[in-house]
């Protein structure tokens, strides 16, 4: 029997059908997980009364793929305030919190001195994408004295994880 010069049409069609079938199964099985990841781990940032009012919502990224085609524009986090957490007064100390999202986890270390947040650090970046994209967010936590920072368009999931990490850290400081 002579060896076919090209992958035969029938074999190609069969392979394609098999690949599509496996993909359909995988997509269906992960549907719920994807939806819950899309809605996020329900961040509960702690907005402060004196949060910078001049930062207004801006346009979002042109791209639609999270953490993949980011733009420099940011949009305001639209989470609701947590009652009792908006005083801006915390117990002194260093607190660590974890936030987990679709693309991995972030550990934030928050330092409180004199009842105020003086330093925030992304102490561990375990996300698939570099944390450099959300590098401005720790500074925003310090300037706003709150976990209510901007979501970075295109790095929405990482922003959400960071917010969750800071929120968890501040929960220990309350």
């Amino acid at each position: 029997m002579s060896k076919p010069r090209h992958f035969s049409g029938r074999l190609a069609a069969l392979s394609s059908a098999a690949i599509l079938a496996v993909y359909a199964v995988g997509y269906t099985v992960t549907e719920d997980a994807a939806q819950s990841a899309e809605s996020g781990p329900a961040p509960t940032p702690t907005p402060r009364a004196s949060a910078d009012p001049t930062t207004s919502p801006t346009s979002t990224a042109r791209g639609t793929s999270p953490a993949q085609t980011p733009t420099v524009t940011v949009q305001r986090a639209t989470s609701t305030a947590t009652p009792g957490a908006s005083s801006g007064s915390y117990r002194d100390g260093t607190y660590v919190g974890f936030g987990t999202g679709r693309h991995g986890s972030i550990e934030a270390t928050v330092t409180v001195e004199g009842g105020k947040i003086t330093a925030v650090q992304i102490s561990q970046c375990l996300t698939r994408y570099p944390c450099s994209r959300i590098g401005a967010l720790p500074g925003q936590v310090v300037s706003r004295q709150s976990a209510q920072v901007d979501y970075v368009s295109g790095a929405t999931d990482s922003s959400r994880s960071f917010i969750q990490a800071v929120t968890n850290a501040l929960a220990s400081a309350n």
Binding site: R5, H6, F7, A12, S15, S16, A18, I19, V22, Y23, V25, G26, Y27, V29, T30, E31, D32, A33, A34, S36, A37, A61, R62, G63, T64, S65, Q68, T69, P70, T71, V72, R102, H103, G104, L126, T127, R128, Y129, P130, S132, R133, G154
Partner: protein, 290 residues
């Protein structure tokens, strides 16, 4: 028509020329939707890679050659890297990729896919990200169709469809089994944009790189499955964005080893055949003398 024009036309009918045309077309579609500095990074990567390759080839062989492979490498780097990356970093990635192509060689051919090596190294060294914007992740189903149709066509021209089919099959089976086995949240993104487009683009355009991938169908099937397993392992173990490229590098290394072993076996076989022939000739001579 001049001889140069005829040569140019002939080049664009070769698999490499066709790949260049398709890649430029995809990037042309992707560029208007690209955030950041995508097109500028693309130009920087392609120019740096091509210029260095021309110089190295001239330095080594004394010939001016059109740097088609280096152009492809530069386009892959520019089309996959984070569009917010600094231009200098992209130039460094392109230069490192071309140097690696000319230095890390076995049996007259480079071992690793240069673009994959450069991008993985830059992720490790500079922490640079990847967006795979050339895979049209922003165009949804249209993007998937464009990558799949053009990719299928070029893979067929390269005669690498078995490799693509086994890679995609094994890749999806591994992640589907993981989802069924109880970790759907860990792998859900693999089945969705932009990872889906990235996997398709990778399978059709990067996995099939002729110098670093096998020719025989059986070897193609093994290679495709191996790269899928490597990518899956890196994804599950480290969760890094370059899991596909890391899987490809692992496959490249195994393929280079297989080629080396096969070459040695061929050499041993020919040496034995030569010895047998010489022994027969001596025997015949001795018999004639007797």
């Amino acid at each position: 028509m001049t001889r140069a024009a005829q040569r140019g036309l002939r080049f664009f009918r070769t698999p490499k020329g066709l790949m260049l045309i398709i890649l430029v077309a995809l990037l042309g579609v992707a560029a208007p939707n690209s955030a950041g500095d995508g097109p500028r990074l693309l130009a920087a990567g392609a120019l740096a890679a091509a210029a260095l390759d021309v110089m190295i080839v001239y330095g080594m062989w004394g010939e001016w050659a059109f740097p088609s492979g280096a152009l492809l490498t530069g386009l892959f780097i520019g089309g996959l890297v984070d569009p917010f990356e600094r231009v200098q970093v992209v130039v460094v990635i392109a230069i490192a990729a071309i140097f690696a192509k000319h230095i890390v060689r076995l049996g007259g051919s480079h071992v690793f896919n240069p673009a994959a090596l450069g991008l993985v190294a830059s992720s490790v060294v500079f922490g640079s990200g990847q967006s795979w914007w050339a895979a049209l992740p922003d165009l949804g189903a249209i993007g998937v169709a464009a990558v799949a149709v053009s990719g299928w066509w070029i893979a067929r021209r390269l005669n690498k469809l078995p490799m693509v089919a086994t890679f995609l099959g094994a890749y999806l089976v591994l992640f589907t089994v993981t989802a069924i086995a109880g970790s759907p949240d860990q792998v859900s993104e693999v089945f969705r944009s932009p990872d889906l487009q990235a996997a398709l683009f990778f399978a059709f355009f990067m996995l099939t790189d002729p110098p670093t991938s096998p020719v025989r169908y059986r070897d193609q099937a093994i290679y495709g499955a191996l790269v899928a397993a490597g990518s899956y392992a890196v994804f599950m173990q480290f969760g890094v964005v370059y899991f596909l490229l890391a899987g490809l590098l692992a496959g490249n290394a195994v393929e280079a080893g297989r080629r080396t072993v096969a070459r040695r076996r061929r050499r041993t076989r020919s040496a034995r055949a030569r010895e047998r022939l010489e022994a027969n000739a001596h025997g015949a001579e001795a018999a004639r003398a007797a």
